[in-house]
């Protein structure tokens, strides 16, 4: 890797480590920006070189903050794009050189057709030297960037399909996606939003403030009142930090409680999320991908005598299992949790779930 890009990677790693850069969206943008530089500024001739390069950068970024799943997702998207480009290039060169009748290899390993064929030898295909590929790949990666930029647009345009007049909507925490979604709906419809205050970060209070600024009728309720008022709610709309392969959510703490209350009252739970938050990783236990924060917000550090006697854990996220979610609204439309596997296969290559160097 060239010195310049290495420095850039170092800077981003340091920022991620020090938690100066947090939040799925910010992290995804920064990762993609860095990868564009890595692809364009480094020498590579074979596909495997490029894949390994991107993988090694991705590995470092993920280790810097393993709980920001968006980093891995973006790296996997880029790897997927690279593989596709090489496949296309190969296919076109083959079809140019040889017979017109040779079948073009299916672009993804996602089809039923490929499922039955062997996949292990996949990597070796990409070792051919390539021409003009660099600009093609960069163009494709730029497309991902455009997709990231237009995510809020695409999601909020579906708002009027889901929110109807005089509904009572409940949400928790502060999610930009949900915020835009609700604001968009409010331009056409009149509805009421209940926001759980989301202790100890109290992001829900900020959310309610933002919504009321946009002219939406918003009420802050304490987290403890979520169950009590749930029966009056028509729909729960949630933001999330990440969506896991099984359709489970890693979302701000309190979400699980809200989703469970909604299930009890048979209230539909809708999750608004960009596709970049969809991770092919699977939660092996409820603590994976969680962040335990400083207990200061729960029990002040000043309370010295008490502090020694109690252990305070302040988890930032909740794991919400997929059976609590009724619908995902992504930038590609609405999907039930059972459809997520399909999105994962379409967007990521199964060889990229871990970033160990390729053979």
């Amino acid at each position: 890797m060239s010195k310049g890009t290495n420095d850039l990677v170092d800077i981003l790693v340091a920022k991620l480590k020090r938690r100066q850069l947090v939040g799925s969206s910010a992290v995804a943008q920064a990762t993609l920006k860095l990868l564009i530089v890595v692809i364009s500024k480094n020498n590579w001739s074979k596909a495997n070189d490029l894949l390994n390069l991107v993988r090694s950068v991705g590995q470092r970024l993920i280790e810097a903050n393993p709980t920001e799943l968006a980093i891995g997702n973006i790296v996997r998207r880029v790897l997927h794009v690279i593989r596709e480009e090489f496949r296309d290039a190969e296919a076109s060169s083959k079809s140019d050189d040889h017979s017109e009748f040779q079948t073009v290899p299916l672009t993804t390993s996602s089809s039923m057709y490929n499922l039955l064929s062997e996949t292990g030898s996949d990597d070796k295909e990409y070792t051919h030297a390539s021409h003009n590929l660099r600009s093609d790949i960069i163009q494709e990666v730029r497309d991902i960037r455009i997709e990231l930029d237009t995510i809020y647009e695409n999601i909020k345009n579906q708002a009027t399909n889901h929110i109807h007049s005089n509904e009572i909507i409940m949400t928790i925490g502060r999610s930009r996606t949900v915020e835009e979604f609700l604001k968009m709906a409010s331009s056409k419809r009149k509805f009421h939003v209940l926001v759980a205050e989301t202790a100890p970060s109290y992001l829900g209070q900020q959310m309610a403030l933002e919504l009321s600024k946009a002219g939406i009728e918003a009420t802050v309720i304490p987290d403890s009142a979520v169950f009590a008022v749930m029966s009056r709610v028509n729909k729960v709309i949630l933001g999330t930090h990440a969506v896991l392969a099984n359709g489970g959510l890693v979302a701000i703490s309190g979400t699980h409680m809200m989703a469970a209350a909604a299930k009890h009252h048979s209230i539909p739970v809708v999750v608004c999320t960009g596709l970049y938050k969809l991770s092919p990783l699977y939660p092996h236990d409820e603590d994976s991908f969680n962040v335990v924060m400083n207990p200061d917000a729960v029990l002040g550090f000043e309370e010295g005598d008490l502090m020694e006697k109690v252990t305070v854990t302040n988890p930032y996220y909740d794991y919400v299992s997929p059976e609590f979610v009724n619908l995902f609204i992504t930038n590609q439309g609405g999907h039930p949790p059972s459809y997520l596997y399909r999105l994962i296969v379409e967007n990521y290559d199964p060889n990229d779930h871990t970033f160990d160097p390729l053979a």
């Binding site: 800077i11 340091a14 100066q20 335990v292 400083n294 200061d296 550090f301 000043e302 005598d305 252990t311």
Partner: protein
Amino acid sequence: MPPKEKVESTEQVLQAVILADSFDERFQPITLETARCLLPLCNVPLISYTFEFLAVAGVQEVFVFCCSHSDKVKAFVKKYEKSSNMKINTIVSQELMSVGDAMRELDAKQLIDTDFILVTGDVVSNMKLDQVLEEHRARRQADKSAIMTMVLKKASPQHRSRSVGDGSLFVLDQGSKECLHYQPVKAFKSTREDRRMTMNMEIFDKHPEIQLRNDLIDCQVDICSVEVPALFTENFDYQDIRADFVHGILTSDLLGKTIHFHEVSDVYAARVRSTQMYDAVSKDIISRWTFPMVPDSNLQVGDCYEYRRGLVYKEKSVVLSRTCVVEEKVVIGANTQIDEMAVLSNCVIGKNCVIGANVKIDNAYIWDNVVIKDNCVVQHSIIANDAVLEQGVTINKGCLISFKVTVGANTTVPAYSRLTALAEGEDDDSDAELISDPAVVGATGRGRSFTEAEGSDDEDEVEDPKNKQVSMLAFDMSELMLSAKEQEDSASDFESEASDLEEDLISPEEELDREVAATLDRAFQDGHDVDIAVLELNTLRMATFSNFKEMRKRVIPGVLKHIDPVAKPGSGKTAKEILNRWGSLVGKMIHDEEDQLDGAYILQRACATLYQDVAQAQRVFAPALRYFYDEDILEEDAILEWYHSEKSQQGTDIEKKLREVAAPMIQHLEQSDSEESDDEDDEEDEDSE
């Protein structure tokens, strides 16, 4: 990339100075072999936390001053610099003896050209300094004499992260954020000067409102202007940044400089000043108060800790046996192996350690490459790199086991031992042969007990040894008191240090409470004469400079306490019997009419507080009042005045009920009174309504 643009857009390079040397010997013998700032704290060298703290603050250039073991510090810094985006310069000077020397060196070399951050190499903090820096710069713009901003953190007096024995008293003006006076506070004030503080009276003239604060952790993070090093050069006798410099600047009229403070509350900041603080800060890190500087953030390149429930941090390569128990708050470094049935709790274990079967480790800090064989017990101690504990060793609390020490099989190391494997009388070059002490490390052990060189502390001539003790690892305050008590028993001199000590620790009132109770108990138990008890109480009164009122307040309840309201006559515990025996003791505390009135109030209150049940209280109160009247301890006038006063009619229900109990007696008194003088009759009648 945005970060780069950001760097260039700031007009000045932010500089910081780290004083990597501590200039004291609290970690000896471990610091004989390595620098203080390189000691691992949760398996990461201490100075890494400081670097990280500065990097987050946006510091671009760091100067590290080091003195002892400078080669090791230099090597570490060189390695660290590669992975960080700061420029780190090491300045080595063997002559540095104090903070003051370092600052003078800094001034001489003219390395600093702008405001800088001054920290010690043992600061652990997750605070962001931008706000402090902004405040400091704004103040500097307005007033050139504001030369320094200290960052202080609020914490309760008994907080574990407060360094015991390094207290400090700040006099602050909250309005102007100015520090007006500074006074270091020792844990044990053995001399008179230690207990007093002299403050310039002018402070009160200039500042309408001031605060005297002892609830601040001073983590010695200072924003200094360029004048600070120069001032150290001018005042060549300044050694310590706080006790000398801050105190000196604030008390000097000539300089006209001011020092400000910034109080932080929701962030973490502490200094690893002593082994006690090492323990406290380690626990804070494990409990995630320092977030994001926690083990699973993997500050060190190559680390790979994972967080698990119960605040357990484990490297991926750790081998845990099937039956070992990892309780809560444990950090385990890479390639460490834990054998069957071992129990770990509240501890940090370094890289490449081997922990044998049935080992119990609690509260201990075990560094790299340590071997602990089967059946060992380690409590609240630090065990440095490459140490070996053979089978069945017990390490009691507060021990420091230095590098490469071997403790032989089945040895018990007493509490607060310090063991070293360095030969006596040399520092680094091991020409001299190490003479192992089998009494300490066992027959097959390697090492000797470390004793601090005498007279090494020639600067603070009369340092109280206790002040050193309290900052030690696992030091228990209660033990110190115990030994003080022992001293008192053996010492005939009343003004002994021990009694002095007790005065410091408890307020005079509590002390008097305790003493009076003890005297009375003794008198009751041993059946002293009343006269002797009175003599003892009077001596006590004079010794504690208290008056009879204070004594009454304690003696009356003290006597009443011994009455058993349900005892049968003849048991020696009824009100009558106790009062007959001891009542005159109360009499000796009552002299004039005012005393009598006061006595009556105390009697009422005492009965009400001693007995929860009204009937019981009445059964004590009535005979007591009767007795005091009969014995002329409380005279008629006093009782009447008490009965009619407003004070006796207020108070708790029981107190009111007690007053009613006295009503027949009052009636009787008034009747006999009216017989004597008819002309007062009308007046009395009015009163009694």
